[in-house]
Amino acid sequence: MKLLECEKIAASYDGTGVIENLSFSVGEGDYLCILGENGSGKSTLVKCLLGIKQLDGGKITMGEGLRQTDIGYLPQHIDLKKGFPATVYEVVISGCLGRRGLRPFYNSKEKALAKSAMERLGIADLAEKSCRELSGGQQQRMFLARAMCAAKKLILLDEPVTGLDPAATGEMYALINELNKKDGMTIIMVTHDIMRSLNYATHILCLCSSKESFFGTAEEYADSHLAAAMMGGGA
């Protein structure tokens, strides 16, 4: 049984269909990159996978006891400029809400989970810092730690490196890769970075223009004409 299987799903955004007849699957330990231009339906697909958005057709099945709320989610670019008062620890532990159920307070196991996620990502010393004082890279680590708290097997990242400088971008990709290879975490990542996708990912889903989509292993994608086209024709 695959961890996640999408069969012929269709979804729309503001009444216009952006995803039609899309099928793909994710196995445990896979690293799937979702590529596609702006407006190709990547974010809509993410919302469908999380169960925030209703499908217009088709179905998503989860295996291995995975529930939609067990997916660790790192949303696309969160704006913290409004000066929200929250410490890094408060943000990270909020990832444990899903597993807490109806219990009103976090227990020691969940607190330990939040601490270990922060240590794993090297932000343990920032725990009591306000999240508005963080650099872009530290902020994304905080959100990744929160996603790790929520995730049992699968982390879903929506353009995790938007707005980061090259050094922080490299670190972020390395961390995600480590989580996949060392910790066996299954990764689904929406990204624009084809080169890195081909380096790290095991599978590629490309929501290309004109309703054409590609799903296969990274090698198959690299050999296809689509990769060449996305990288700027020719080559």
Binding site: L50, G51, I52, Q68, T69, I71, Y73, P75, I78, K82, G83, F84, P85, A86, T87, E90, V91, S94, G95, L97, G98, R100, P104, F105, Y106, E128, K129, S130, R146, A150
Partner: protein, 273 residues
């Protein structure tokens, strides 16, 4: 000195001042707790809008000789749903939607009460009359306030998550729609109770100012919640007693004390940096 003697006469203390203090404290603390989320989600104007709608409802109830609270509470709860919805997704953007609704309700209230010649009674709701609260109003305030505080404590982490990042909260299975409905009810109840004491013109200051004050010095969400609750309670007590001593309007005095705290905390925040 005469006033002070009256103020501390056991009779006045027991029958008027004490109930007003307890009821008032409970409602101010509620307002400041809910205010944290309302301010951070940029819904500050909702409290203001709701109080105007509440004013309209109370006026209509007074003219029709109905129990004011029984009319105002459900009307304001429904209005709160609509206003929160408006702020979330609409063609009419949140703030203009609120202005439209609240001024309409306010005008209806003024029209109805002036036609019926009740301006005097109804002006209580404009400016509040904390010392004129009936026993049943006080009891109701306390019960509802305790309910708001209990709900806030039990839902604290969910409130944080929804306030901080709605899409993530939704993804972890928090039912965001349900919580914003619960939140609308809590806000509506607090606003109606608050406007009977502080007046419909001033209640939104109790929602907004303590949070702004706390945000000047606190880094954490928990800190903001605790400090804003404390500051609003202390401001309320100082405001009430100075109103009695100086013979000023209680509602306005409480607001001014809140503003003084805000300025002091702003200065403290600047100095710390």
């Amino acid at each position: 000195m005469e006033e002070i003697r009256i103020m501390f006469s056991p009779e006045f203390f027991r029958s008027i001042l004490l109930p007003a203090l307890i009821g008032g404290l409970a409602v101010t603390v509620c307002a400041s707790l809910l205010g944290v989320t309302l301010v951070l989600k940029k819904y500050s104007m909702i409290g203001d809008g709701l109080s105007h709608i509440g004013y309209g409802a109370l006026s209509v109830a007074a003219v029709m000789n109905l129990a004011p609270l029984k009319v105002a509470l459900p009307v304001v709860v429904i209005a709160a749903f609509i206003l929160l919805r408006l702020s979330e997704n609409s063609k009419l953007s949140g703030d203009s939607g609120i202005a439209l609704f609240s001024t309409t309700a306010l005008s209806v209230g003024i029209l109805v009460s002036s036609k019926a010649g009740l301006t005097n009674d109804v002006s209580h709701y404009m400016f509040g009359s904390i010392l004129a609260m009936s026993r049943s109003d006080v009891i109701l305030s306390i019960v509802l306030s305790l309910a708001v505080i209990a709900a806030f404590i039990f839902l604290y982490d969910r409130i944080f998550s929804v306030t901080f990042d709605e899409s993530f909260a939704q993804a972890t299975g928090v039912r965001v729609k349900l919580y914003s409905m619960i939140f609308a009810v809590l806000t509506a109840v607090t606003v109606v109770l608050g406007m009977m004491m502080m007046g419909s013109l001033l209640i939104s200051s109790l929602i907004v100012i303590p949070t702004l004050t706390a945000m000047r010095v606190c880094r954490s969400f928990k800190g903001v919640v605790l400090v804003s609750g404390t500051v609003s309670a202390v401001s309320f007590l100082i405001g009430m007693f100075s109103a009695l001593l100086l013979n000023t309007a209680p509602g306005a005095s409480v607001v001014i004390v809140n503003v003084i705290f805000f300025l002091a905390f702003s200065l403290a925040g600047k100095l710390r940096k």
